[in-house]
C-alpha cells in the first residue's frame, strides 16, 4: 500500500465546459438548498418535493440489498416518515439527501432482516434465502461497492463514450436525482432519448465492470 500521505491542499473550483453554465449549477444547488432549508423548517410541501425527487433512489437501494419489492416500498415510506418525525422533534439539523435517506433506509432494512431472522429461528422455519439478509448499515455506510480496478475500468469506459452521452449519464447519476425530464431539457434532448442514452452507457459500464481482471 503506497500510503503516501498527501498534505492538505487548497480548494479548487474548476470552471465547467460548454454544456452547463455555472449559473445553472448554482441554481440547482440553490434550489436543493432552499428545499432542504424549508423542509428543516417543517414545510410540508418542501418535504413532498424532496420525497418525490429521492424516493426512487431509496427504493432501488433497498432492492439492491435484496429487499422484496413490496417491502422496499414500505421501508422507503417508513424512511421518510422517520425523517419527518425527527425534523418535527427538532433533531434534524441538516438535511443532506439522498445520503440521509439512504442510510436510514439501510438501517431499517437491517433491522427488518434481524427481526425475520429471529422469527425464522424461533419458528424453526428453514433459513431465509441470503438475499433477504441485508448487510449491517454501520458497515455498509462505508462500504465500497466497487474495487479500485472496477472503478478504473468503468471510468475508462465512461471516458470513451461521446461527450454528450457522458454529460447525460453524469447529470442523471450524480446523486442529486435530477429527473430525466430535467436532464433532457438541459441537454436539449427528448426524455426518451435521454433514457436510451442511459441504457447504452449502462450496458457499456456493465461490461466494463464485469470484465475479469487477470493479474
Amino acid at each position: 500500500m503506497s500510503a503516501a500521505v498527501q498534505g492538505l491542499r487548497m480548494t479548487l473550483r474548476m470552471p465547467r465546459e460548454a454544456e452547463e453554465p455555472v449559473e445553472a449549477e448554482v441554481a440547482r444547488q440553490g434550489d436543493e438548498d432552499t428545499l432542504a432549508r424549508r423542509a428543516l423548517a417543517g414545510d410540508r410541501a418542501a418535504w413532498d418535493a424532496l420525497v418525490a425527487r429521492h424516493h426512487r433512489r431509496v427504493v432501488v437501494s433497498l432492492l439492491a440489498r435484496g429487499v422484496r419489492v413490496d417491502r422496499a416500498h414500505e421501508l422507503a415510506q417508513e424512511t421518510w416518515a422517520r425523517l419527518i418525525q425527527q425534523q418535527q422533534r427538532g433533531l434534524l439539523t441538516e438535511l443532506r439527501l439522498p445520503n440521509l435517506a439512504l442510510t436510514q433506509a439501510a438501517f431499517l432494512a437491517a433491522d427488518d432482516a434481524r427481526r425475520s431472522r429471529r422469527e425464522s429461528i424461533s419458528g424453526a422455519v428453514e433459513e431465509l434465502p441470503e438475499r433477504q439478509h441485508p448487510v449491517d448499515p454501520s458497515v455498509s455506510a462505508e462500504r465500497r461497492l466497487l474495487s479500485e480496478e472496477q472503478l478504473s475500468r468503468a471510468h475508462a469506459a465512461l471516458a470513451q463514450v461521446s461527450p454528450s452521452a457522458r454529460t447525460v449519464f453524469l447529470l442523471a447519476c450524480d446523486g442529486q436525482e435530477l429527473p430525466h425530464a430535467e436532464v433532457a431539457s438541459r441537454v436539449g434532448l427528448s426524455v426518451q432519448r435521454v433514457r436510451q442514452i442511459l441504457c447504452e452507457v449502462r450496458k457499456k459500464l456493465r461490461s466494463a465492470l464485469e470484465e475479469e481482471t487477470h493479474a
Binding site: A4, L8, M10, P15, E17, R56, V60, L151
Partner: protein, 181 residues
C-alpha cells in the same frame, strides 16, 4: 399467475422509472412470485447503485476539489495507464482555471502542480466530505485512520460525514448513525 418473466431490459426500464404504472405494478407483482426474476431485479438495482458510485467518483471539472487523496494507489496507475490517460485528459484541461493555494493550507502543500495534476487525473476514491476549513485537520485525520479519502460536498450516498465536530446538539440525526425511534 402467469405474468411474463422479466428481461434485463424490462428490469432496467423499471429501475429507470420508464415503465407505465401498470407495467411497473405487473413487474413488481411478478417478482414477488418468481425468485429468479426477483434476483434479476436485484442485480439491476445493484448495478444502478454501482453506476452512481462510478458517476460520483468520475473526475469532474465543476466540482470543488477537496484536499488530498490518501493512499493513492500509484501502483495501479501503471496497470491501467491507458485508461487513466484518457480520463486524465478530461481533468487536466481545466487546471489553468484553478486558484492560488488557500493561505490556511498545512503540511504537504509544497506538492507541485504536476503532482496535483497527476492526482486529479487518477479517477478513484470514495471519499469523505469535510465540513469546513476549521475542522479539516481533524476530519482528515479521522478519515485517514479509516482509510477514506476526502471529497467535495454534495457527496455520495456512501460517504459518511463528521458532524460531531460541527457542534450539533446531542442526539441530532446523523447521516452516519441512523436513529431508531
Amino acid at each position: 399467475m402467469l405474468k411474463p418473466h422479466l428481461t434485463r431490459d424490462s428490469a432496467e426500464q423499471y429501475i429507470l422509472g420508464a415503465l407505465s404504472p401498470e407495467a411497473s405494478a405487473a413487474l413488481e407483482a411478478h417478482t414477488l412470485e418468481c425468485e429468479p426474476c426477483a434476483r434479476l431485479l436485484q442485480e439491476e438495482a445493484v448495478l444502478s447503485e454501482q453506476l452512481q458510485e462510478v458517476a460520483q467518483s468520475f473526475p469532474r471539472e465543476d466540482r470543488v476539489i477537496r484536499p488530498a487523496r490518501w493512499h493513492v494507489r500509484r501502483a495501479a496507475a501503471g496497470a491501467v495507464g491507458a485508461a487513466l490517460a484518457a480520463a486524465a485528459s478530461l481533468a487536466l484541461v481545466l487546471l489553468p482555471g484553478g486558484r492560488a493555494p488557500h493561505p490556511s493550507g498545512v503540511a504537504g502543500r509544497a506538492t507541485t502542480t504536476a503532482a496535483l495534476e497527476l492526482e486529479m487525473g487518477a479517477p478513484r476514491a470514495i471519499v469523505v466530505a469535510c465540513p469546513d476549513l476549521a475542522t479539516q485537520d481533524s476530519c482528515m485525520q479521522a478519515a485517514e485512520e479509516r482509510g477514506l479519502l476526502v471529497q467535495y460536498p454534495w457527496g455520495t450516498g456512501e460517504v459518511p460525514r463528521y458532524e460531531a465536530r460541527t457542534g450539533l446538539p446531542e442526539g441530532a440525526l446523523s447521516a452516519r448513525h441512523p436513529v431508531s425511534l
